[in-house]
C-alpha cells in the first residue's frame, strides 16, 4: 500500500516504541501501518502463517471421506465444511500479508517445511466416525483457542478470528450430531464412535500446545497481547466443556485419571504424552509426509492453471492484472 506523502507534522510525543507499548498496555489493537518491534512482526507472521497452513492442510483428513459420506445430507455438509476450511486459510493468509510477507513466500515456506501447521492434521481418518470426532473434538479445541484469539492484539488477525469463529460453530455441531447418531445406533456404530474418540482425544488436548512451563513463546506473547490465555488455561476450558458432552453420548474418554475436582471446580485429567506430541511436530507422525507431499503436488499440478490465467489476463485489454502491472 502506498503511504501518502501528506502527513501531519507531529509535535514532540512518545517514540514509536513507547507508543506501541502504550497501545498494548491500553488493550488497543495494533494495525498494519503502526510501528511494531521486529520480533512482534516475526512472531505474528509465524503464528498467523501456522494457523493459515493448518486450515489448508486440515482439508485433507476430512476431504478423505467426502466421496464415502454415508448420505447425501452428510456429504453436502462435509463439502461445505471443507470449503470453509479453505476459506479460513485465505482469511488468514490475507491477514498475514498485511505484515509484509507475500502469499508466494508463505506457500514456499510451508512446502519447504520451514513453517509448520498444527500437529493434529498428521493423524489419519480411519473411519466415518473420525469425521464426527474431528468436528466435535478438533474443531471444539480449535474454537476454544480461536475464541481467545479474537482478543489478540493484532487487528487483522483478531478480525479474521471473529469471522472464523462465527463460521466454525456449525463445524462442531455437525460433528457432535454425527457422534450422537453413531452413539445411538447399532453396536458396531457405537464401537466405531468409541474407537474414534479413543484415537482423537489425546491429540486434541495436545494440539492446544505444550504446557505453559515448557512453552517457549507464551511469556513474550502474553506481554504483547498476542496470546490472552495460556495453553493450559484453554486446555482446561476445553476439557471442562467436553467431559459432560462425552457423558451425554454415553462414550468413555480414554483417561483413567479423569476426575471432577471439587476444590478447583475443574476436571482433573491425566498426563499428556508430550514425547509423542513432539515426535509428530518433528515430522514423524503417521501422516506428516503424506500431507505435505499432497499439498506440494496440488500446487505443482496447478501450475499450468495459474500460468493460463495470467496469460489470459495479459490478453485482456484494460482488465485483470494486465491493467495494473
Amino acid at each position: 500500500m502506498e503511504q501518502s506523502t501528506f502527513t501531519t507534522a507531529t509535535t514532540d510525543g512518545p517514540t514509536p516504541a513507547e507508543r506501541f507499548d502504550q497501545l498494548i498496555a491500553a488493550g488497543e489493537k495494533i494495525e498494519p501501518r503502526d510501528w511494531m518491534p521486529e520480533a512482534y512482526r516475526r512472531t505474528m507472521i509465524r503464528q498467523i502463517a501456522q494457523h493459515a497452513h493448518s486450515e489448508v492442510i486440515g482439508q485433507q483428513p476430512e476431504g478423505n471421506w467426502i466421496t464415502r459420506a454415508p448420505s447425501l445430507r452428510r456429504k453436502a455438509i462435509l463439502v461445505a465444511k471443507v470449503q470453509d476450511e479453505a476459506g479460513h486459510g485465505l482469511y488468514l493468509y490475507s491477514a498475514c500479508e498485511t505484515l509484509g510477507i507475500s502469499r508466494d513466500e508463505l506457500n514456499e515456506l510451508l512446502h519447504q517445511g520451514r513453517q509448520k501447521y498444527s500437529s493434529i492434521f498428521n493423524y489419519p481418518t480411519l473411519s466415518w466416525a473420525d469425521v464426527g470426532a474431528i468436528g466435535w473434538l478438533v474443531d471444539g479445541a480449535a474454537i476454544a483457542n480461536q475464541v481467545a484469539l479474537t482478543r489478540t492484539s493484532y487487528g487483522p488477525y483478531a478480525r479474521a478470528m471473529v469471522r472464523i469463529c462465527k463460521e466454525e460453530s456449525f463445524h462442531q455441531r455437525q460433528g457432535f450430531e454425527i457422534m450422537m447418531t453413531l452413539a445411538r445406533g447399532s453396536e458396531a456404530q457405537r464401537d466405531m464412535a468409541q474407537d474414534a474418540l479413543n484415537r482423537w482425544w489425546w491429540p486434541s488436548l495436545a494440539m492446544l500446545g505444550p504446557p505453559d512451563e515448557q512453552s517457549t513463546h507464551t511469556e513474550q506473547s502474553m506481554q504483547w497481547g498476542i496470546k490472552v490465555e495460556t495453553n493450559d488455561e484453554i486446555r482446561q476450558k476445553f476439557v471442562d466443556q467436553t467431559v459432560p458432552q462425552a457423558q451425554f453420548l454415553g462414550l468413555t474418554l480414554p483417561d483413567p485419571a479423569l476426575a471432577w475436582n471439587e476444590e478447583r471446580g475443574h476436571w482433573d485429567f491425566g498426563e499428556i504424552d508430550w514425547d509423542a506430541f513432539w515426535e509428530v511436530v518433528r515430522g514423524n507422525g503417521p501422516c506428516n509426509r503424506e500431507r505435505l507431499a499432497h499439498k506440494v503436488k496440488a500446487w505443482e499440478d496447478g501450475a499450468w492453471v495459474r500460468e493460463a490465467a495470467l496469460a489470459h489476463a495479459a490478453k485482456q485489454d484494460g482488465r485483470g492484472l494486465a491493467a495494473t502491472a
Binding site: F6, I30, A80, F170, Q174, M180
Partner: protein, 106 residues
C-alpha cells in the same frame, strides 16, 4: 457496497473536465475494518486524502482514512445479484443441527 455497485453503471472514470473521483474508507477506531464512507473529487491522491479527512472525519469519526481511485474499483453486476448471492445453504448455519439442551454450549 450498494452505492458502489450502483455507481459503476454511471461513473467509473474521471468525469469529463473535472477532478477524478476517489472512494473514501474510514476506520472508526483501532480493531475495526476500514468501512466505505463515501467519495470525494480531487486532482491527486494527497488532495483526495486531505479532502476525505475534511469531509468525512470532522467529528473524530475515524483514526485512519483510505482513498482509492473510483475507477480502480471492480464491482459485481447489480443485475446478477440473485445468481451471485443465492440463498445460503441452511446446513452452513449452526441452527440447522438439533443438539439437546443438556449437552451445553456447542
Amino acid at each position: 457496497m450498494n452505492d458502489l455497485n450502483d455507481r459503476t453503471t454511471t461513473t467509473t472514470a474521471a468525469p469529463v473536465g473535472g477532478y477524478p473521483l476517489w472512494e473514501v474508507f474510514v476506520r472508526a477506531r483501532r480493531g475495526l475494518n476500514h468501512v466505505h464512507a463515501g467519495s470525494v473529487h480531487a486532482p491527486d491522491a494527497d488532495t483526495a486524502l486531505q479532502h476525505a479527512r475534511d469531509v468525512y472525519t470532522r467529528r473524530a469519526e475515524g483514526v485512519s482514512v483510505w482513498v482509492v481511485p473510483s475507477a480502480a474499483i471492480v464491482a459485481s453486476d447489480p443485475d446478477a445479484r440473485d445468481d451471485w448471492f443465492e440463498g445460503s445453504k441452511p446446513y452452513r448455519h449452526p441452527t440447522f443441527y438439533t443438539i439437546p439442551d443438556e449437552v451445553g454450549h456447542l
